[in-house]
């Protein structure tokens, strides 16, 4: 099976660097799957689950945002915050939601008359809630 080089990096560490056969990315405009020979693309991410299929099985990571650089031979995901799915507990999820809500609040205070950033922050929350629902975590 043809391979793409998959790298997942967060600002704090390199989480994964493996040869994969396909990578499913939660893009801001919709999910996409990158395989070998994909057209070079840069996309931003929404909070969601990143799925990497490689010879040893499938790895899943939860990302909170960031962007991905896709080339014909590799996929680099630069996530703001990323965790292997197994480490994503209700507790972590609650913190993420709380952070997002705080961001929404501060956005509302700073940009009173500009809806853009406020809508973005609100969308971030709903994306996170959707992601939580997807992996079986509830938001309180």
């Amino acid at each position: 099976m043809a391979n793409v080089q998959f790298d997942l990096v967060s600002p704090e560490r390199l989480l994964a660097s493996v040869g994969a056969s396909e990578v499913q990315i939660p893009g801001a405009d919709g999910d996409m799957t990158a395989m070998e020979g994909h057209a070079p693309t840069i996309t931003t991410l929404r909070p969601g689950v990143l799925r990497v299929v490689h010879s040893g099985g499938t790895d899943e990571y939860v990302v909170s945002g960031g962007f991905a650089e896709i080339t014909a031979t590799g996929v680099s995901v630069l996530a703001e915050q990323a965790l292997p799915r197994g480490e994503m507990t209700q507790e972590v999820f609650d913190t993420m939601i709380a952070d997002a809500k705080a961001a929404l609040k501060s956005a509302e205070e700073v940009f009173k008359n500009e809806p853009g950033p406020v809508d973005d922050a609100a969308k971030l929350i709903s994306d996170m809630v959707a992601m939580g629902g997807h992996i079986g975590l509830s938001s309180s």
């Binding site: 790298d7 990096v9 967060s10 600002p11 704090e12 560490r13 390199l14 893009g27 801001a28 405009d29 996409m32 057209a39 070079p40 693309t41 840069i42 996309t43 931003t44 960031g66 962007f67 650089e69 080339t71 680099s76 630069l78 703001e80 915050q81 501060s106 700073v110 940009f111």
Partner: protein, 290 residues
Amino acid sequence: MPSLKDLKNRIASVKSTRKITKAMQMVAAAKLRRAQDAAEASRPYTERFNTVMSGLASGAAGSASAPRLLSGTGSDQTHLLVVMTAERGLCGGFNGNIAKLARTHAKQLIAAGKTVKILTVGKKGRDVIKREFAEQMVGHVDLTAVKRVSYANAQDIARDVLTRFDAGDFDIATLFFARFENVVTQHPTALQVIPAKFEQADDADVALYDYEPSEDAILADLLPRGVATQIFAALLENAASEQGARMSAMDNATRNAGDMIDKLTIEFNRSRQAKITNELIEIISGAEAL
């Protein structure tokens, strides 16, 4: 001439000082390794981020619609200096050097008729800056409670800086921190983050990418992240530099204490010998007098 007892006490006290500095040096060495590992771990992200950004930025820089974080506000009247220092002292010239660089910079700007605003990160820098530029200080970020700097800390600082930028508080932001070279050398560095500067990538390296959503939207999304990334990198460099500086400062202190102990011990032995000789002379002259 100090008495024998005084000398003995003095030696004991210098010895315990040496023990403390030795311990601090070893703690700093351990922390330095961790700080270096953290800096190393963040490097792949920063590198890749900058590659993507420079590609995007070189495309957008020419256009009139380029975001203000990239093109600037069109003025350079108000400068924000973000001075990053340590929360603790006892690390040689580390804090002093950064503060000195920031002070010289601030003085130059003021002399050129610009408005200067200063945001400090780290207690030690604030104390120094406050003496001279109390009026220019606009804020302080306290990281005393933070054991290991995380990206969240950098994000908080970046959010603070960006809020000020959006409010039109300043035109140009510069970070001051110490770049870690090795244990003995740390370079105080000034780095401009707003408007963002990226090394221009060679045209050959820049593949033609599809952008999703649009190129502009991605750029607008990434530029604030870029500020946070750069602040995070600076914080990590600073943490490593601080430990490096402390390690070499404490190494020096330990050595000095050792020298002092040697000197005091010689003095102690001499006075003891002198005392014995004195007593002998007294006994002999007493015996002769009989």
